[in-house]
Point group: C2
C-alpha cells in the first residue's frame, strides 16, 4: 500500500488552447509500430522535475504485468479535481462568473432585482457589496441562475456563455484557461488505460456542458455538486426540472463519498490543489493497489497566480503540510 | 425521434450459467477478419421472433454511418433494469433473501431479536408474520443487515453469501438465476459499442458485489438505490460507513433522475420488465437519437414464472398497456 503524496513543483504553464479536437497520444510501451499510434515522450510541457519522473516511474511499474505492483485495467481509476487543478480558479470560481453573467442576462425579466441583494450588487458591479452577502448570498445567486429550468435549457445557457464570455482579468474565453501540463497528464494516463474522472466541488451539469471535449472526458466521468431535480412526464415530452435546493456538495468528505456512490472503486491516482481534495487523497492512499497522490501547488505569479495557505479560493493549508511531510518521508 | 416500445414475446430461458469468464462475442459488421474476433449470429438463444428482428434492425441502422439514424459511439447508452430483467425476482427480491439470511447469521449477537418483529418472524421462518410487518418491517430488516458496516465489510458479506446461499424454490445459487437471452443482448450491444448500464431499484452495493463478472458490467456502470454513508479518517486508514438511512430510491421517476445525475446522457436503449421502469423508458423515448425500448414480459410458467398486472413483485400494468399500444401503433 503506497502512501506517496507528491508535492508538485512543476511551474504551471498558462496556455491558450486552440479549438478543435486533440488527438489522443499513445505512450504505451510495447506498442505495435504497425498500428496507427504515435509514440511520443510523455508530459512534454512538464519541466524535468522529480515530480514528472515519479509519475512516469509509477505508471511504468503499475502497467508492467511482471511487477508485483501491476494494477489490472479495471482498477486504474484516476480522479482529478477541477477548479485550480484542470482549469484556473482565480480571482473567483468560473461558475460564479457564469452566475453573475446570467443574473445580468436575466435581469430584464426581474425588475425587482435592482433593489434586492445579492442581485443589486451584481447589477451595479459592486463586488464589495456582493462579498458582504456571504455564502447565503452566493447560494441565492446560484439558485436563481441554475434552477427553475430544464437540464436541456441549462446546458444550452452554459454552452452559449462559453462561446462569448471573457474572463474578467485575463480577458480570454474560459475554455482557454485550462492547464496544458494537466491535459497532458490526463492523456498520458488514458494512454496507459486509466479511466480519468473529474471529481469537483463545482456543479456537475455546469462542467459537463463544456469540458468534455477539452479534457477528453465523457459526461458520465464528470462528478460534481448537484441541485435537486424532478421528473415531469409532460404529455410524452418528458423533462427533468432543476430545483433551487442543494442535493449534494462534492467537496471534502463528499468527494470519497461520491466516488464510492458513483464509481464504487477507490482511485489509484488522485490529483487536486486544495484542502477540499485531502479526503479524496486519503481515500486513494488507502487503496490496496499502489497509489499516487498529486498536489498541484500554484507558485507562478507571473504567468498564472501564486497562492496557498491564505487564499480564500482554493486554500491549500493542511494538504500542503501533508504533501511536504509525505514527500520527505518517502524520499 | 423514435417512439418504439417493444413488447417482448420472447420465451425466457431459465438457465444455469457455468462459472468462469465468458468471452465477449463480437458481432460487429465490417470486422476485419485478420483480427482475433469471432463473428457469430447475434442473440443465439432468442426465438426467431419479430422482437429479435427489430432489435437487430435497430442496431444495424444506428451503427451505419451512412444512415441518417446513425448514433455516435459516445451516445450509445443502454440501461437495463435488474430484478426480473437480468436476474429473476420471484417469489421475492434476491436482496430480501440476503437480508433474511443475514438476520439469521447475525442473530447470535442479537438475542433480543427472538422477541422483536420483524426479526422474530425471520428467525421463526414465519413468512406470513413477516409479510404483516409491511414496508416498515422490510425497511427495518434492510437497515439492520445493510448498515452499520463499512463498504468493504458489506461487499465481503455479499460475496460470501453468493458463494453458499441457495434460492428457496429453485434450489440453485443466486448467481445462476440470470437470463441467458439478456446476457446475449448485453454482449451484442457492447459488441456494437454500446455502453451497458444496470439501472435498478435494488441496492447498488449489493449488485456491485456480484454481478460485475456475470453481466460483464463494471461497478461504475451499476446504478441503484443507496443508503447514506459517512467518511471516517480513522487515523490514516479511512473507511466509509454505511448508515441506516435511505439516500436515494432508484425506481420510477428516480431512474431518469439518477441517469441524469450519474450518466448525464439520455439512454438510446432502455430495457425493463415492470412499471418501475416506465419513466426510464419515457426518458429514453424522448432522446433526439432513434431509441429502442424493450419490455420483457414473463410468460413462461413452466421454466420460469408468469406474471404481470397482478403481481406484488415486478408489477407490469401501465407499462404493458403502453408497450402493446405502441407496438400496434408502430407496426
Amino acid at each position: 500500500m503506497a502512501r506517496l503524496v507528491k508535492f508538485s513543483s512543476v511551474f504551471l504553464i498558462f496556455i491558450f488552447l486552440l479549438g478543435g479536437c486533440r488527438k489522443e497520444v499513445s505512450v504505451k510501451k510495447n506498442t505495435n509500430a504497425t498500428l496507427e499510434t504515435v509514440i511520443k515522450v510523455p508530459l512534454p510541457s512538464w519541466n524535468d522535475t522529480s515530480t514528472k519522473k515519479e509519475i512516469i516511474a509509477y505508471v511504468d511499474v503499475i502497467t508492467d504485468k511482471n511487477q508485483p505492483d501491476f494494477i489490472p485495467v479495471k482498477d486504474r481509476i484516476a480522479t482529478f479535481d477541477n477548479d485550480g487543478n484542470l482549469w484556473s480558479e482565480q480571482p473567483a470560481y468560473f461558475q460564479l462568473f457564469f452566475a453573475i453573467d446570467r443574473v445580468r442576462a436575466m435581469a430584464v425579466d426581474h425588475p425587482e432585482w435592482k433593489n434586492e441583494q445579492p442581485f443589486k450588487a451584481v447589477l451595479e458591479n459592486d463586488m464589495e457589496a456582493l462579498a458582504k452577502q456571504g455564502e447565503h448570498g452566493l447560494l441565492q445567486l446560484v439558485m436563481a441562475t441554475h434552477a427553475g429550468n430544464t437540464t436541456e435549457e441549462f446546458e444550452a445557457y452554459v454552452k452559449e456563455w462559453v462561446k462569448t464570455a471573457k474572463h474578467p482579468t485575463k480577458n480570454v474565453g474560459y475554455d482557454k484557461l485550462v492547464y496544458q501540463p494537466m491535459l497532458e497528464l490526463l492523456q498520458y494516463l488514458r494512454a496507459n488505460d486509466f479511466k480519468t474522472y473529474v471529481v469537483s466541488g463545482g456543479g456537475v451539469d455546469f462542467m459537463r456542458a463544456f469540458v468534455t471535449d477539452i479534457y477528453g472526458i465523457p459526461k458520465e466521468q464528470i462528478i460534481g455538486s448537484r441541485i435537486k431535480t424532478k421528473f415531469e412526464y409532460n404529455d410524452g415530452n418528458p423533462k427533468i426540472i432543476r430545483l433551487p435546493e442543494l442535493d449534494f456538495i462534492d467537496d471534502k468528505e463528499g468527494k470519497p463519498l461520491n466516488i464510492q456512490k458513483i464509481i464504487g472503486k477507490k482511485p489509484v491516482f488522485a490529483s487536486g490543489n486544495s484542502d477540499g481534495d485531502l479526503q479524496m487523497m486519503q481515500w486513494a492512499a488507502s487503496n490496496e493497489h499502489k497509489s499516487f497522490m498529486l498536489y498541484l501547488h500554484h507558485t507562478d505569479s507571473i504567468r498564472e497566480w501564486a497562492y496557498d495557505k491564505d487564499s480564500h479560493i482554493g486554500r491549500l493549508d493542511k494538504g500542503l503540510d501533508q504533501a511536504k511531510k509525505r514527500w520527505v518521508d518517502s524520499n
